[in-house]
């Protein structure tokens, strides 16, 4: 049996109090519960504070480019579907420079887990407005207040064919662990956005702020995550931000559909005999 320490490579150096600690911890917990092996996990990260994760979590890791997390992660998974692939982005990585990839990954529905560390700011670059920053948000890049509507990743995923859409909070670690667990177990692309306060650069959206401005659908009685109507109701609420497992839809993943053979692609036969080739060449004769 694995223990949490088997997934702990080094002590993180995020600012103390940073929300990412809770995610790091939840990932270790989940890995233990799901009996994963570090060598069969690939953690693909983007550029930002969240991207440091690979330096602390023990697993195969690919720290990619800003915004290109998902293309890389999908490539890894499609090449070897036996791997557990977990992609991690920041809100800028996922919804600004990487937005096109995000939505296309949702609709492609490759069987991997995507954690978006949403601190409503650009952390690593020291505090610029991000696509999830609220209207009016004052930062280095919008000293006069942001004039753009914030984006909602889960809502975008919902209208793009998303099959597992959840939102957690660093301040609610138990739920977070559960959501990540369910996400990893889901067949298809699972999005777990995590509200993760940046205690250094974002003094507006604090732990308290999130507590006040969210509601938890997991607490709602009789909530059925497979109902599109309900999911819409929660997502569309403009006053408070929904948390919990917002929507789930069951079915085959992209990899199931396009790679029906059992052997993962990496193990497919490389050598190609002359006979088979001759057959192919006939067309050109």
């Amino acid at each position: 049996m694995m223990e949490e320490k088997d997934f702990h490579l080094a002590d993180p150096t995020w600012c103390s109090g940073c929300g990412i600690y809770a995610i790091f911890s939840a990932l270790k917990k989940t890995s233990v519960t799901l009996e994963m092996k570090p060598e069969e996990m690939v953690v693909v990260t983007g550029i930002g504070c969240h991207g440091r994760l690979n330096n602390y979590l023990k697993a195969y890791g690919f720290h990619t480019l800003h915004g290109r997390t998902l293309p890389v992660a999908q490539g890894v998974k499609l090449a070897n579907k036996q791997l557990s692939v977990i992609a991690v982005s920041g809100d800028g990585d996922a919804y600004s420079i990487g937005l096109g990839h995000f939505i296309h990954a949702v609709r492609r529905n490759v069987n991997l887990t995507y954690i978006v560390v949403n601190n409503m700011i650009y952390g690593l670059t020291q505090g610029q407005t991000s696509p999830t920053s609220r209207k009016g948000f004052v930062s280095k890049s919008t000293p006069l207040g942001s004039k753009e509507s914030p984006l909602c990743g889960p809502h975008l995923a919902f209208v793009s064919g998303g099959t597992f859409i959840a939102r957690g909070f660093s301040g609610a670690p138990k739920q977070l662990v559960r959501l990540i667990e369910e996400g990893i177990q889901h067949t298809g692309f699972s999005l777990i956005e995590v509200f993760s306060p940046c205690v250094t650069h974002n003094l507006a959206n604090t732990y308290d702020w999130f507590r006040k401005n969210t509601f938890d659908v997991d607490q709602e009685k009789g909530y059925d995550p497979e109902s599109r109507e309900k999911a819409w109701k929660f997502l569309h609420n403009r006053q408070k931000l929904a948390m919990g497992l917002l929507y789930q839809e069951k079915g085959p993943s992209f990899d199931d559909l396009v790679l029906p053979m059992k052997t993962p692609l990496v193990q497919s036969k490389m050598f190609f005999g002359q006979k088979k080739l001759d057959k192919i060449l006939e067309k050109f004769e």
Binding site: T64, L65, G75, H101, M270, F272, Q274
Partner: protein, 579 residues
Amino acid sequence: MIKDISVMIAGKAGDGVLFTGNVLAKILKRQGWEIVTYRDFPSNIRGEATNYTIRASLKKIHGRADSIDVLMAFDCDAIFHHIDSIAHGGIVLCEGSEVSRMTPADRSARTFHAFPMRTLAKEKFGNEIYKNMILLGGLCHILDLDLSVISQVIKETFLERKGPDIVRRNIEAIHLGCEKAKKIVEAHERHLLKRKQDVNRLLISGNEAIGIGALVAGCRFFAAYPICPATEIWQWLIHHFPQNNGLVVQTEDELAAINMALGASYAGARAMTSTSGPGASLMMEGFGLAGMTEVPLVVVHVQRVGPSTGLPTKSEQADLLQWIYGSHGDFPRIVLSPGTIQESLEFTIKAFNLAEKYQCPVILLTEQDYGQNYRTVEKFNLGKIEIDRGKLLTKKELLGLKDYKRFAFTRDGISPRALPSMKNGIHMIEGNEHNEWGYRDETSRNRTKMMEKRMRKLKTARKDLIRPRIWGDKGADIGVIGCGSTLGPIREAIEKLKDSGIEAKFLQIRTLWPFLDKEVRDFISTCKQVFVVDNNYEGQLAQLIYSQVRPKIELESILNYSGHTFRPKDIANPIQKAQ
């Protein structure tokens, strides 16, 4: 006796020029000739002028000819446009008859006939669509094509998709065209081909050869975004990967394409992407990531005319230096330039081996002319295909290691590679500067050593690279240097020059980077005069040679940035003049 002819079919986009040309090429190939096709088509949907030239020759050829012998035109605009390209003694058949508008000089040198393909098609079949087969029928007379070969090709083309009725009607149309031509074209106007045996040969495009190369090299993952003129590679793979447990992914853009391929390669697949023009510029960031993370990657770039959207369906060689100097920062990369279709296949296979052996991106840089046009080639024989995955650790080897370092400082610069899922191999890769284990390290000591380790791989690779090839008389004083699709016109130019008493030789550069300076320096040192042939404006190959070889003599550039490839005379003439 005629040894070499070029037939141009011209019309408007939508006329079926491409289809007709393809059929004709196949027929001529089946008659045993060497074929090179040349498409000149607009990047438009329809309505604009388009043409397709099929050159057939008794000897090996690689590019288009100096002139056209037979022009078959669906409308007469083409005549005015191409009149200067039509050889003296050439013959022109056109739907209408605008011969009256030609100058007397033009008229005396060529023969012009009205050949009402459309009208005949409508009259006989009630459908203009048969005009194309009527045209083929006309050629059947002019070129003395073998009707049984034609029938065979038509059957192959239509039987399965359209049924025997359509086959019959098409063959009828061919007969009709042939009969019509017999009435108007006189014996001395005909271009009679001596038929040969067609054994063990293929008629194939470079893009298709690259697709085949990838498949037999063990590539099983391909991610790309549609773009002309690279799409045929994809088209080919998508029909052959699924049954080989391979996968083609249409990505949302080129950024995703290169990064997805990179992810797949990191996981252990042989992975590739292909692109052109703007797509290549978009790939610059991912290219650098491949270099920094030392993940093998093959990128095929089929060059079209730039800058920007440029001329998407035409050929150029203006992206050499982008791959050599492009993306920010210094990192190892290998750039190959195939000069024949055979090389398109071989270099693709080689590219995968190089990428894995040296753990770096390898660019197969070819041109629209090679990518999309068809050429005859000897049937590929796999006898010696080797899949060399370089320092890829086996599970067992890895388990035997004490402290596995993905980026170990080795003498040859290459560090043994472990793949995700392998026990004892856990590591991280990243675009940030990192230490031997792959984790971020910003000290200057590590940086300097890691930089040297990475770059050292190219030194190690040198012995393994594809050397330049010398064509022609090695004792000649005049040297010509070129790469890629200039091979055909250069070789023919040299033959032409020989005919007029000028001896020249040709150095075909096949690896553009790392630059094999010694070989080029040696070649230059045996020449009194050196011409560098560049299908671009800036003389990119010449600039590269200057920077790497530092030649003692001035190189003379022969440039072409017209949107077309060179013809032999475009190279022979300036060399002759310079004597």
